[in-house]
């Protein structure tokens, strides 16, 4: 995680870049958005749910950000402003594709009040990051995120993958902060419930166990 000081410096550098771009050094826009390519792609992917549309929408979002850069006032973080554009772009893409009806994100979701029970376990063996070298594990994780209901997947993506804070996520999605917290909690519990039993069997029992995993 960035320190507050590093964040403040980055923010000053960005404000400087933006001023220079608006002053005519437009090539600097490439540099301005470079740290956010992944964030914008994942944001639109969480909405449109396929690679081709996500790439198109991500490009459109960046182009829109360029065209409307003069409207960025600096009262929000540039990353939040850019995420809001990406969310709108993704939603427009969906509407154009007429694949879903208009989302009403502030409406309660059926069953949302029901308690969500996590998968019960009595112990958990840490799955190390090196295990991500295995394609099967990456696929299992991606499928579980893809299986989340739309709004939960979007909130999870903005909070846990894009690392926006609660207020930024709420602003980008146009919902209140409490709803972000409640739905993030449910999204995380849904992932735990689905993934913990699947991953438990893949965790190493003891040193050297990796050699006997089915994906080897």
């Amino acid at each position: 995680m960035k320190s507050g000081e590093a964040t403040a410096t980055a923010s000053r550098d960005e404000a400087d870049l933006i001023a220079r771009i608006l002053g005519g050094e437009k090539e600097l826009f490439h540099e301005l958005i470079r740290p956010y390519e992944r964030m914008v792609y994942l944001t639109v992917f969480s909405i449109v749910r396929n690679q081709t549309d996500a790439e198109d929408s991500a490009q459109d979002a960046m182009v829109n950000a360029y065209r409307h850069l003069g409207k960025f006032r600096g009262d929000a973080k540039f990353s939040t402003w850019l995420t809001t554009i990406a969310v709108n772009e993704g939603r427009q893409k969906l509407r154009r594709a007429k694949r879903t009806k208009e989302d009403s994100l502030d409406e309660p979701i059926e069953g949302e009040e029901q308690e969500l029970t996590p998968a019960p376990l009595t112990d958990w063996r840490e799955i190390p990051l090196e295990a991500l070298e295995r394609k099967e594990l990456r696929e299992t994780l991606r499928n579980a995120v893809a299986a989340l209901p739309d709004i939960y997947r979007q909130i999870f993506t903005l909070r846990d993958l894009d690392e926006l804070n609660v207020a930024e996520t709420a602003a980008a999605l146009g919902i209140n902060e409490n709803m972000v917290k409640v739905r993030l909690h449910r999204a995380r519990m849904m992932l735990q419930k689905r993934l913990a039993p699947l991953l438990k069997t893949t965790a190493p029992e003891r040193k050297g166990f990796w050699g006997r995993m089915p994906w080897n």
Binding site: L69, A119, L121, W124, L129
Partner: protein, 86 residues
């Protein structure tokens, strides 16, 4: 306050984000000390979040960045699209 497992589950997400009040945090930690189920649920949730957030899990399409900057270069070359202040 003595918490039961369901109370703890309800706060797992806020606990992970370090956004529970200190008193509740202490109650949760007291419960975790003796409840192996809640400890395992917390550990597995944290582990799953770390694995999911790793850059390797969700990869950008091959060539994504190159195509993006090519499109931007075309956009930037067109004076008509220069950013406006309104």
């Amino acid at each position: 306050m003595e918490l039961n497992c369901k109370h703890v589950w309800a706060h797992i997400s806020d606990y992970i984000d370090d956004s529970v009040p200190s008193e509740l945090r202490a109650d949760i930690e007291r419960h975790l000390e003796h409840c192996e189920i809640c400890s395992a649920i917390l550990d597995s949730t944290r582990n799953i979040l770390v694995l999911t957030a790793d850059d390797r899990t969700f990869e950008l399409p091959v060539g994504f960045s190159k195509r993006l900057h090519e499109r931007l270069a075309r956009e930037l070359a067109d004076e008509a699209n220069a950013p406006t202040m309104n």
